[in-house]
Symmetry: C2
Subunit: 110 residues, 2 copies
């Protein structure tokens, strides 16, 4: 996972509509049209947001097995897992900072 990937993930998640889509998809996969209606935006607009999400790797598209006009979107776990890993790394370095700080003032303040 490169730093560049994290950028794309974060940029994709930074839009309110797109985060709304992710919020919907984490419950279950949904059709493109369903996402547009639930979000109250025009189809073409949703379509472009979905493309952005696809290109960032956050979602994937399947076709409905009975009607292949219908595109079903689902969340892909990897990008968000990578993001979470980065956040966790931050927290590790953080607690290390805190430890170093405490070591400077060893006298506990009881």
């Amino acid at each position: 996972m490169s730093a560049h990937d994290l950028d794309r993930t974060l940029a994709a998640l930074a839009d309110p509509y797109r985060r709304r889509v992710v919020d919907l998809l984490r419950e279950r996969p949904r059709r493109a049209g369903e996402l547009a209606e639930a979000t109250r935006i025009a189809f073409p607009l949703m379509s472009r947001h979905l493309r952005t999400l696809r290109e960032s790797g956050l979602v994937a598209e399947d076709r409905d097995e009975f009607d292949s006009r219908v595109r079903i979107y689902r969340l892909r776990p990897q990008p968000m897992a990578d993001l979470k890993a980065w956040l966790e790394e931050t927290q590790v370095l953080w607690s290390r900072q805190l430890a170093a700080f405490k070591a400077q003032f060893p006298r506990s303040r009881k």
Copy 2:
């Protein structure tokens, strides 16, 4: 923590320079000028990125105790903790999806 806050956090993190700053700050607090030099960008540009980070709540600014021209930036934990919580919520809903899916096909595929 509102959805709006998450947007600001994500938007702030979505820029490569700003993420570089966060990467530097998670090791230890640093002076504004130090951040500009380490990132190889002009001071005014860094200054604006720092403002964005400040406004998102990701960093805070202190003055050096001996020279108050110097501004020292440090990371604030809350926004990233909130973001992590959102990611974890996603993973919970996720595993629920997976469980529901498995329940539909109870026959394990030995």
